[in-house]
């Protein structure tokens, strides 16, 4: 493993995990340093989203560990993990459709109920679109706006790290661009981000480092730029369309 690992905000170390008896992640290691954006890319079924679920304690972990800021959080239940500062935005079903935008954000702040007003203001500054729609039902927003709500909601808790599961899935190119620039804005506020993305090219474009997963195991690692430039990886997934 490389040098940056010891002061990592989040690290998955030699993880073997899966659902019940079926192992999906094989000896997986990933880490995220402070002020980094790290992308996890790979073909369908590579176990990218599963890696995130392992962090949240939603999987059966048989070997290895998950460490957050030096604290072992392997197998810790989701609510505790979130209290410790991991914010997670699932791929689908990531807003409460019948609650308003503001209520969604308020729910996001559940584990840290003080100072909600101030953080709401921060979020509305970061996501100006949401400010005008704050009393609208989240379900009535467009896909891209919903994604914004989902991210803002996740940021309401003073996150130590933000986990984004395929944030641009199913979005139009316009919104994809907005999402990635928002991600950079978030990085600017000091929150490290771990992204799982199908849209490898754009993801690597904003990332400091990346991991390529195939069949639940590490295949390649490197800086965003290096991976993006690697012809073998380009062949694997960066071919036209995305």
């Amino acid at each position: 493993m490389s040098m940056g690992q010891s002061n990592a905000v989040l690290s998955l170390n030699n993880l073997r995990a899966g659902y019940g008896q079926t192992e999906i992640l094989h000896d997986l290691s990933i880490y995220v340093n402070p002020n980094e954006i790290v992308a996890i890319i790979g073909p369908n079924g590579a176990g990218k989203s599963t890696a995130m679920k392992a962090v949240l304690g939603l999987l059966n972990i048989t070997e290895g560990s998950v460490v957050l800021n030096g604290e072992d959080i392997t197998d810790t239940p989701a609510q505790k993990v979130i209290e410790r500062g991991i914010s997670y935005v699932p791929q689908t079903n990531n807003v409460f459709v019948n609650l308003s935008v503001q209520e969604n954000l308020e729910m996001g702040a559940w584990t840290r109920p003080t100072g909600v007003e101030a953080r709401l203001d921060e979020m509305y500054n970061l996501f100006p679109d949401l400010a005008e729609k704050r009393n609208q039902a989240a379900g009535s927003l467009s896909g891209g706006q919903r994604q914004m709500v989902a991210m803002a909601k996740a940021l309401m808790v003073d996150a130590k790290i933000l986990l984004l599961d395929e944030p641009t899935a199913g979005l139009s190119p316009k919104y994809r661009g907005e999402i990635f620039s928002t991600i950079q804005k978030i990085k600017g506020t000091g929150v490290p981000i771990l992204i799982v993305e199908q849209n490898a090219k754009q993801a690597l474009g904003v990332s400091d480092r990346g991991y390529v997963l195939v069949d639940g195991a590490n295949r390649h690692t490197g800086t965003g730029a290096d991976l993006a430039a690697d012809p073998e990886i380009a062949r694997m997934f960066l071919g036209g369309g995305h």
Partner: protein, 315 residues
């Protein structure tokens, strides 16, 4: 203007329909919340309603021995606390083990609870009818006179006034809870998506407890209002009310409390109004089939628009 038709219609069909509707509405609120947040049809709900009524009766009886006459709405308070404990207890011992299993298991458990609670009531209080006397059955003279002066005459007994007022207060309180309190919003959130609530860090167990508490309050109120209206208690009440309450919840949309209120009123009115001689001299529907009205509405909804009128969750 206010001829015999109007008088009879309003006082003997419309008002009773609204009263029944209020009772169904309150019961349906509990059912729809359980359906929405815990994701199962709680067959024991009717029996819990009935327990609330029996407990209230007992509180009044005990107070009676001590020389006090308590108004049912007052006696309802300690009864409600006991009902809440009952709900929380049955959840902990009989429903919680099945939270992560197929829905069918917890439904079967609730079916079993239905039987256990009803049998318990029958053992403790016996299967015979008990009278719920309150002297509140006489028509309210103020209202009669007032309305008579306007040209109509409304004969509404005090008991109905209490039922209407109680229902309105509970619905307003519920609205406040769900829209302005943290736990209420969390309840709506879990109803939307328990998984998302979980990964957002919401304390789902706390929300579940809150659901049982709110359900308990509404169920006790519904039970007490029912016995206030018919002025007697018997052990078949719970099951008799269950199907119309399910129908009301489905009509309004599963998980939508306002829908449940609306659904309850519609079904209550439909039941009472179906016996009215709309066409000619005989009732539209033979009174023996009154209880079938709710069910017919429910089946139609399930086929035609399963998400209910207010777009609750469908399946």
């Amino acid at each position: 203007m206010w001829d015999a038709f109007g008088f009879e219609f309003v006082n003997f069909y419309l008002i009773p329909g609204l009263v029944l509707g209020c009772i169904y509405a309150l019961g349906a609120i509990g059912i729809t919340l359980t359906f929405g947040i815990l994701r199962f049809a709680n067959f024991a709900h009717g029996e819990i309603m009935m327990s609330g009524a029996y407990l209230t009766w007992t509180v009044m009886a005990i107070a009676g021995y001590a020389g006090l006459t308590l108004h049912p709405l007052v006696a309802m308070v300690p009864a409600t606390l006991l009902v809440i404990l009952l709900f929380l207890g049955t959840d902990k011992f009989f429903y919680k083990p099945f939270r992560k299993s197929e829905t069918i298991k917890v439904v079967m458990a609730s079916f079993g609870m239905m039987l256990i609670i009803r049998s318990a009531v029958q053992v403790i209080w016996g299967p015979n009818q008990l009278t719920f006397v309150r002297g509140i059955a006489k028509p309210n003279p103020v209202l009669s006179d007032l309305s008579n002066d306007i040209g109509m005459m409304l004969i509404i007994p005090n008991k109905h006034l209490f039922i209407f007022a109680g229902t309105i207060i509970i619905v307003i309180a519920l609205s406040y809870l769900l829209n302005r309190t943290r736990i209420g919003k969390a309840m709506r959130a879990v109803s939307d998506s328990p998984d998302l609530a979980h990964v957002t860090g919401i304390d789902v167990d706390k929300v579940i407890r809150a659901t049982w508490i709110v359900g308990g309050i509404c169920a006790t109120a519904a039970g007490v209002f029912l016995v206030m209206d018919v002025q007697m208690l018997e052990t078949t009440m719970g099951f008799r009310m269950l199907l119309p309450m399910f129908a009301a919840a489905i009509l309004g949309g599963i998980g939508k409390p306002y829908g449940a209120v609306f659904g309850g009123l519609v079904i209550g009115l439909a039941e009472e109004l179906s016996a009215y001689p709309w066409i000619g001299d005989t009732p539209l529907l033979s009174p023996g089939y009154k209880t079938g009205v709710a069910f017919a509405i429910m089946v139609i909804m399930l086929i035609v628009r399963p998400q209910g009128l207010f777009k609750g969750r469908s399946f």
